[in-house]
Symmetry: D2
Subunit: 394 residues, 4 copies
């Protein structure tokens, strides 16, 4: 039987792709070596600099975010290099495993998955590394599996305080264009990004923003690379071209996305995400449930992970919301599998879509027999109402 | 400033056009006299018979619903003919004015706009028409301006009880494919339909379903007609063609819409609308507001018109919901202008979209300073939850 | 079996709809009474004035071109009014029949369908109408069935020379935005247009451009009208709205079309059509076939009708080109049925598409066993080559 | 100035993406971990097996073809492994350079770029490799830079004749779904494919088809890999899922492409390409120009590379066809830069599009002052006409 009405894709990415972007992608593919393409390519490359807030390098890969993770590591580092990573959650752990698979020696600062990275622990570890064996510090900005945000600029200060020369790499796959981020100002060397979250595109593009320091490091790195090579990109990129066939239609969509973000204004985009995170946490507390992130100031505006009461299956609950209300929620991953569910409130998103999602959650809790206090949606509504502003003239 | 997220188009039509239909319309136009077109045309003409539930004639106009209103009258009637109409609300009144403009003599049974047509009053009037001067009885099935539904089969019985030979014409522009309707079983002679409500298309197509009796009447009618002529359609339609250039791309969309309605099942579609109407009225009552339709059994599953407390402007309230929550609600028309607002819950629609709309209404009431009791959205949620069913396997 | 590759729709309309326009139509329908719609409506209404080259009125109907034909007649004229029409071909004849059906008394100046209207014959007839019984002169600018163009400004001069007060109505359904046209400069009172030819849209919209004189006439006209009423349009149009539900998505496409025409420049658009008409006639002559239009200066840049050698079926030939080469050509209509085929070279069209079409015609002639001399496509190619200009920087 | 009409993208890929595929891609992204996705993923994975003609493994990468090249090498081989490659042209050379960059020791059998790989030379080299140091033989099926096809099954026989255990890897990026190919029957171990040629998609997906032998080899290979890892794919793929976020919307398009290929029938698709290659070469010879591929039986049905007369610039010529006729042709690459141009006749393509392209080439030769004999397009047309078949009922 057909399910009527619009699907609510409230996982923490891919986010809902707006019509303007889908329609931009739905235009004829052109010659990627011809003059018309150069304009498309330059617009995308330059536009992404405004999103990363960098004046140095941006590279665009026809690949998932996982590919850009790999690109960051293999361009800048050599086999056997030590990297310091921080276990903010599932994705930080996956990045660590990836580092190992590509021949590095990652060291993971363990945590309970309920907060972003702690700058003090990073500083402490770096201070202990008298020999400067650690070649890079890798942090996930917004941990998609937990809804905790790491304080990137404070970590930069921690690295500086330790006087350590390691490269600083940040994964912004689920924070870029949703949470305030400043590649240059915050002294990040390599920022990893993806298309399918704050950028509002389908999955299939990913990014590296790269500082001059990282670029210099890459000249000396000895990892065998080809597809991910920055070096091969630099020359063609200057004129808007790519060393191998780019994902042309996705670039159409990317250019539309950059326009849309600029039309709204990045500061407004960030404030919107913050406000929706707050309203969501208000709902969770009103339901008498617990938000996974328990460090004040680390809560995410992109997603909220909610802990399931003991003895109740988060996945059974999610199956209810999907089957009954056509609402997709994010699942708990690895060690929190079936123990949390995640509400995505990112990308092309607004108050009423949040109310729809929270209503679906509240009804699903009931249908799944999860103990909860009614009124979470109502509590969020009160908060949204009190903070609402007119977006257009009345 | 760009408004983020999806617009909520909760006027009582045009309803939200689903992606499948928009994408079907977004295909190359073909030769409307070629063999490939015949298949498109036949599929549309035959498919619409299953929607109207008729085995006789269906005609498709490249026109708004207003055009199909005119078509119904001018094909079957002659200048000066008397027609009995029923003032269920604004649209019934407009149809009456149209009848006058095209040279007929309409007589309007007046009402307070708070219910559908009363079969007894129609029967009474027809019984008084000993000379059979009245050539047609015209009723609006779902009055889009008020949210009241007229009992079409009871009106048929009333006409029969009066033993009157008048043609029976029904406007289903906003009920077709949303509320149970049976052209043949209910003995309707001419049914008027439009594309942009339950059929989920953009505006631009409209329909006449026509009984043999109406077709016979049209042979004797003397109104000067051309564009609307059924007679000119019959021949070409047999092979899937049209007498003048059809709106080919809209027909692509129509065929997709018919498929979607059949995939869901018309009975399920009707039940869905009924349930959403009930939940909406529950919300209205919980807000301590009044539903315009006050006749039990006449309440619409397509839209709910809500009366504004005295001294408060419905339009100022609607401006708030649009500017703050990107929610379009329907306005009050003519004599109830600024006194009611209308919530559309029709077409490609589901529980969470209703929760979004009701949340937007509740927040808007607050922002507009309208006296209301909080909890309407919550009340609707409780009702939806208690009546929810799984649409897909859990 | 699927037919690979792009279909070549070389009928004289609907023309091929460009991707930009299809994608514009493929956007969500909005509230036609809301503020966002006003901008869409005003842009369309104002934009069409630049296409018709008029400062007076433009009306947009959700209807085929046939509807706009009817609108022109019924707004401005009264039952029994005499109208002078000119039999340039099938469509002029259809318009004449329509005039009769809507209660007028058309008089048709007969012709052999091989030229546009002759101003001298019109002047002569008007001079004979001492009583000014003729209320309107109706001419088809580009006769789609024959490929002959009527000299509109010369006909205006003829009417003036006769000192006759009749309204001047011109059908530009297949010429608008393809052949030079100037509603105001040429003193036309009502211009009829359609969406699916030079405007590059799917069928479903049609137009009346209306002079003050025609508007004044409409105030006195007594034909019963409703859907087509200019009077009902004028008020709402002032603010970008319409008296009944407009075909919103088609208006999105119309606005895109107007942009595209302005980007190319109307003068360039006209020159392009002229050049393609010339190249096509060169091909026809090289094939040793005859162009239907035999009046120099009347040949169309929109389409070329080609006469079939005696004893050969144009329709059998067209069936060959469709089945073998996925090429749709126009058929001969009514009295030239099966005797001519028509090559459309209008709308979003270019040199290589013309070469494709002419190659398909040449191959089809061979496959259908039609006597012809090889080399028509080659001859057209030579001409195109000699007159080609760079559209972009080399 | 806007360029009117459709662009002719006659480079040898990306090929023109048909509307059905673009529209499939233009649908909402869904949860890549949800049940609805599993159906999408399985359909794509199973469908691609029918295209590669394999019963073993197919892996789908969100990446350009270059990525799938790398995947083939790094999964199956270890650092320092010797691979035998064959210099059929630019792309074979690039693959060889890639092999070197990822740590292998490629050996390139040199050639003049005017034919596909010679099985005898491969056999000879393998016979000389008594120690079985060569771990893989890598051949490009259709060399996109030259238009020469390597005889894959004969090379398989050559490897067998030499009794050599090397893996056999074939690049079918520009041949898959255009030229007959049989992964299992021809005993290929790893086939590399891409989305943007015969599969008619935009660029952004690439493929490995993998034999059991190659899969076994990958278990022992020691290259550090992550993104490209087959091993990580196998498990999730079983249920239609992927180890990292897949390019969901491209998979929608892929499923549509597979349907379209099956609707036409792969044998018909292959025959169509062969016939268009023949007609193109007929045109080239008629122009008195030389086809780059000079080995009979190696000529490609996908593209034709044409040698420019001495002293004339292929790129200046291509600039003419682009600026004057909106026709994109492929350029000569590396050692044949500016010396050849390439006509793509692949993917969703038909007779009239070929005639358009050849007409554009012929006119461009003239405009660019290249010595040529007129009549190439005419010669191709004669050949197409003599071999044309009806695709639909007449």
């Amino acid at each position: 039987m057909r399910t009527a009405g619009r699907h609510f894709l409230q996982i923490p990415g891919p986010s809902t792709v707006p019509d303007r972007i889908l329609r931009a992608i739905d235009m004829p593919t052109i010659d990627h070596r011809g003059p018309a393409f150069a304009a498309v390519g330059k617009r995308a490359l330059d536009g992404m600099k405004t999103i990363f807030k960098t004046d140095s390098y941006v590279f665009i890969y026809p690949a998932s975010g996982t590919g850009a993770w790999e690109a960051a590591l293999v361009n800048a580092l050599s086999p056997g290099d030590k990297v310091l990573m921080y276990e903010t959650g599932h994705f930080a752990t996956l990045w660590c495993e990836l580092a190992e698979r590509v021949g590095l020696q990652p060291e993971l600062i363990e945590s309970d998955w309920r907060a972003g990275a702690d700058p003090d622990r990073i500083e402490e570890r770096l201070r202990a590394d008298k020999a400067n064996d650690i070649k890079a510090v890798c942090v996930v900005h917004n941990e998609t599996s937990t809804g905790s945000v790491s304080p990137v600029s404070a970590i930069r200060r921690a690295i500086d305080a330790a006087g350590h020369p390691a490269l600083f790499m940040v994964d912004t796959i689920s924070s870029l264009a949703s949470i305030d981020y400043r590649h240059d100002d915050w002294g990040v060397d390599i920022t990893v990004g993806g298309s399918q979250k704050g950028l509002m595109l389908p999955p299939g593009l990913s990014f590296n923003a790269v500082s001059e320091k990282a670029m210099a490091a890459s000249k000396k790195a000895t990892t065998s690379i080809s597809y991910w090579s920055w070096d091969a990109m630099v020359g063609p990129n200057k004129n808007g071209y790519f060393p191998y066939t780019p994902a042309t239609n996705m670039l159409y969509g990317l250019n539309e996305a950059i326009d849309m973000l600029n039309e709204e204004g990045l500061e407004n985009v960030f404030a919107r995400h913050t406000r929706h995170g707050e309203a969501t946490r208000t709902a969770v507390r009103a339901w008498d449930l617990e938000v996974l992130c328990n460090r004040q100031g680390h809560e995410s505006g992109v997603l909220t992970a909610v802990m399931m009461p003991d003895g109740h299956s988060a996945d059974a609950f999610r199956a209810k919301t999907l089957a009954h209300f056509d609402l997709s929620l994010g699942n708990g991953l690895s060690k929190i599998a079936d123990k949390v569910f995640r509400i995505g409130h990112l990308g092309d998103f607004n108050d009423l879509t949040l109310m729809a999602a929270l209503s679906g959650v509240e009804m699903g809790l009931d249908l799944a027999g999860v103990p909860y206090r009614a009124g979470g949606a109502q509590a969020a509504m009160n908060q949204l109402k009190d903070t609402a502003t007119a977006k257009t003239a009345e």
